[in-house]
């Protein structure tokens, strides 16, 4: 490949790559989520299948990142007919190649079934999951092979960079980003344009930019989806940002638990370098910029910007007090600008389509689209990209398809472990930074965990507190001891050892942890406690006063017993019980020995006569 020396070179390659071909193509999504479900095996089977039928040169096979609908993975699209098959297994390939690829017929069984109407849907875009979304960023994941920069050229890739370098001054780029109203997608929601401006105006010759790809919230994987699906959009955003700020060196701080994302972005950087899009004198603009990858060692707190900087410097990942802000004194005490993966991926769009286009979507203070990872007790698990301002209800019921097995909704937690749990009464809350804060939660990076009626909110608070007490760096007394003591109190409550005054103490402590901690982790660590205490206080009180877990989750507070009238004495539960806690004669009611019972619930699942009762 030749280096692209001028903007004209880039234009030529984009034109050459953008030509639409009608050559048949099979698109297989193999993000981490797809591979977990066997998408890589499907891809291998497809390759073999095409070879068997002598179609290797006639049909292309495109391996892309995740399109977003993880629930139905592995899925594939057959172009140009756009036939969309879901939950494909390697064995299905034998049928797909002759019937669909050659015969152009659809296989009913592999099509997506609408949850409400039970009708089969042929094309991906007609699935209700996608209909309410505005997929400005995620849609590209389905179009490109992330391992090939040429695919990215094919969707007009790096043209925004060319536009910024040739026709805009750095100040104009910053102004455009400011006008768009985009705010940091990592969680805190600081206006990106202003952040850039601070850094641009900061004194110093050497400046750095960093892409924060240390995504650590349980149940959140938006950044992974982008890193694995469209790495060049992130790189392009970073190069534009570096040009605007005046930085010549950039870093991608990525967690090492994402091996596929690490290798994808690494490969993308190498290819960009080979094409001259990174390095000296990019597109003859006299602007130099290069990117280094730094792999994080798995500390959640390193997603906090000052801790992240310390980690890149080779120090312990511990936050420090701001000011000075990284824009003044950041990496190696030089002005540094940090943005999240998703923020960077938005930048090329803002430059190419304009600030006005971007600001048309969203609410007054939150503009554009936001990617959420919809997980938990929800029918359509996956990555969704929605306009800011959409309500939680629309997101959960219309896009997410509601709660599985006809159960009722209980709460949704937004913003990862330090977000709050929002109950049903607030489902009409529009998603924007301020509105979520008003109901006691945060936007966070975009995790959205849905919980159903079988979830115990005290147990949820316990889970997140245990996560946070492990992940707190331990520097501040308030965060280290505070999360530990909160976890201690809540764990006692779930064990049935709660006492009068615990809730008041918990509230008092949570407020102090929120108030006095140094960094965002501690300041938001109390959110799961405070929000569940506010909206589900009766559940806590049930645990303490009545020693009851209403959802039947906290094992110390529940008891399994056999209803003798319903028990037929079949002995199925007796055989299934791992503790041999069940005894009884054949065809006579059995009993559970409570001393031996470990409350695993296997008997309840085994019994066909509904004779086991959980109280």
């Amino acid at each position: 490949m030749n280096k692209l020396k001028t903007p004209a070179d880039l234009k030529n390659i984009i034109q050459a790559r953008s030509k639409k071909s009608n050559k048949p193509c099979i698109v297989v999504a193999t993000g981490t989520c797809g591979i977990a479900r066997g998408a890589d095996k499907v891809a291998i089977a497809l390759k073999k299948g095409l070879k068997q039928h002598g179609l290797e040169s006639k049909v292309d096979l495109k391996i892309t990142g995740c399109h977003g609908f993880c629930e139905i993975e592995p899925y594939l699209t057959i172009l140009p007919e756009k036939i969309f098959y879901v939950k494909v297994q390697p064995d299905d390939v034998e049928e797909i190649v002759p019937k669909t690829v050659i015969g152009k017929k659809t296989i009913e069984r592999l099509l997506y079934t609408d949850l409400d109407t039970n009708k089969k849907i042929v094309k991906e875009k007609d699935i209700p999951f996608y209909k309410k979304q505005t997929r400005n960023i995620l849609a590209n994941n389905a179009l490109i092979d992330p391992q090939h920069i040429e695919d990215y050229f094919g969707i007009n890739g790096y043209s925004s960079l060319s536009k910024a370098l040739t026709s805009m001054t750095p100040e104009e780029v910053i102004e455009e980003v400011k006008q768009s109203g985009i705010r940091g997608r990592g969680g805190a929601g600081f206006p990106t344009g202003f952040k850039w401006e601070f850094c641009r105006k900061a004194k110093g010759d050497t400046k750095y930019i960093i892409c924060n790809a240390d995504e650590g919230d349980p149940g959140a994987y938006m950044d992974r989806g982008l890193l694995e699906g469209n790495p060049h959009s992130i790189l392009e955003g970073m190069i534009i940002g570096a040009y605007a700020i005046g930085a010549n060196e950039g870093f991608v701080y990525i967690r090492d638990e994402y091996p596929i994302a690490v290798s994808t972005i690494d490969n993308a950087i190498k290819q960009a370098r080979q094409y001259g899009l990174l390095g000296k004198n990019i597109l003859n603009s006299h602007f130099d910029f290069d990117i280094t990858i730094v792999r994080g060692a798995g500390a959640f707190v390193c997603g906090e910007e000052t801790a992240l900087i310390a980690s890149i410097e080779g120090k312990k990942g511990e936050p420090r007090q701001r000011p000075p802000f990284p824009a003044q004194k950041g990496l190696w005490r030089k002005p540094t600008n940090i943005n999240n993966v998703e923020t960077w991926a938005n930048i090329p769009l803002i430059i190419s389509k304009g600030a006005k286009w971007f600001a048309e979507v969203g609410t007054e203070k939150s503009k554009g689209t936001k990617i959420f990872s919809l997980v938990g007790k929800i029918n359509n698990t996956g990555l969704v990209e929605v306009p800011m301002g959409i309500t939680l209800k629309e997101l959960i019921y219309e896009i997410g398809g509601g709660i599985p097995e006809g159960k009722s909704f209980k709460a949704v937690q937004t913003g990862g472990p330090s977000g709050g749990c929002i109950p049903e009464d607030f489902l009409d809350t529009p998603i924007d930074y301020e509105k979520l804060k008003e109901v006691g939660s945060i936007m966070g990076s975009g995790g959205m965990v849905v919980m159903d009626e079988n979830t115990c909110m005290v147990d949820v608070a316990r889970y997140f507190l245990e996560f946070l007490q492990d992940e707190s760096c331990g520097k501040c007394l308030s965060c280290r001891e505070g999360t530990k003591r909160m976890a201690e109190i809540v764990t006692n409550i779930t064990k049935g050892q709660g006492k009068e005054g615990d809730l008041e103490l918990l509230e008092e402590l949570a407020t102090v942890v929120k108030d006095t901690s140094m960094c965002g982790l501690g300041q938001t660590a109390a959110n799961p406690v405070l929000s569940t205490l506010e909206y589900f206080r009766d559940e806590y009180e049930d645990h303490i006063k009545n020693r009851k877990c209403p959802a039947g989750v906290c094992s110390a507070l529940i008891q399994y017993s056999i209803i003798s009238e319903k028990c037929t004495g079949c002995g199925a539960c007796m055989k299934a019980c791992p503790q041999q806690a069940i005894s009884g004669e054949k065809k006579k009611p059995h009993v559970i020995d409570q001393n031996k019972c470990i409350k695993c619930g296997i008997c309840l699942e085994t019994c066909k006569f509904n004779a086991i009762e959980k109280r």
């Binding site: 000011p323 760096c473 331990g474 501040c476 007394l477 001891e481 505070g482 108030d515 006095t516």
Partner: protein
């Protein structure tokens, strides 16, 4: 010079000072634990928190690490600050009730009970020894290990350090392991002995008041029903 307002007093300090420096220069006492004049500030104990800003933007920051900024409004003993400090001391007491330093802080702030399960740790993780060893002794023989609730201070790999000269500076500066509280109460959670002593400054040496040393009166005021008038009468 930087001009700011601390507890309603307009003050001027040199650029580069922290809020703590500024307050102390003007005789306003802010309790500290992990701060030491000879070491860099770390901001770990959070006891020196002060409230800055107004209205909804008001927030608590550690005064040792927060720079004195032009036009800043600082409240060193607002209700929010005092209540938070008391909780922090309660957390410290639950960690290490045998430390005289911690017991003194508890007495001065009128913390009378510990509502958490008391652990008898030897270390409160203030990090003074780590900084002492690195910055004053130039040894860097000890540092923090692990994170969160597993955090501890030790030598690399928990074995005898080659660079440690056994100078003892870490023990000298430690507020927890050296000074055991010798209060009149049997070894327990809160000694509280100092609380029983009425501040002499009020009875005998009216003029000196608490400007010379913290007497803890302001902390007690919040916890007790005594009205301001009553207090004023007593001073008069």
């Amino acid at each position: 010079m930087i001009e700011l307002r601390i507890d309603g007093i307009d003050v001027q300090v040199e650029e580069g000072s922290s809020i703590l420096d500024a307050a102390r220069f003007y005789g306003i006492e802010i309790p500290t634990l992990c701060h030491h004049d000879g070491l860099t500030d770390y901001g770990a104990c959070r006891l020196c928190i002060v409230e800055i800003g107004e209205g909804d933007n008001a927030k608590l920051v550690s005064s040792c690490t927060y720079p004195a900024e032009q036009g800043l409004t600082v409240r060193t003993h607002s209700k929010r600050v005092v209540q938070a400090r008391k909780m922090l001391v309660e957390l410290l007491l639950a960690m290490c009730p045998s430390s005289k330093t911690v017991q003194d802080l508890a007495s001065a702030m009128d913390v009378q009970k510990v509502r958490f399960k008391v652990e008898h740790n030897d270390c409160i993780l203030c990090g003074l020894c780590v900084r002492m060893c690195a910055e004053q002794m130039g040894a860097q023989a000890i540092d923090f290990v692990n994170r969160g609730k597993d955090r501890k201070i030790t030598t690399p790999f928990d074995i005898k350090s080659d660079v440690c000269r056994t100078c003892g500076a870490c023990m000298y500066i430690c507020p927890a392991c050296q000074l055991r509280c010798q209060g009149p109460e049997p070894p327990g959670d809160v000694c509280g002995s100092c609380l029983n002593v009425e501040p002499v400054c009020l009875e005998d040496e009216d003029d000196k008041m608490c400007f010379l040393e913290t007497c803890g009166w302001c902390y007690k005021e919040l916890g007790r029903t005594k009205s301001k008038e009553e207090k004023r009468r007593k001073i008069d």
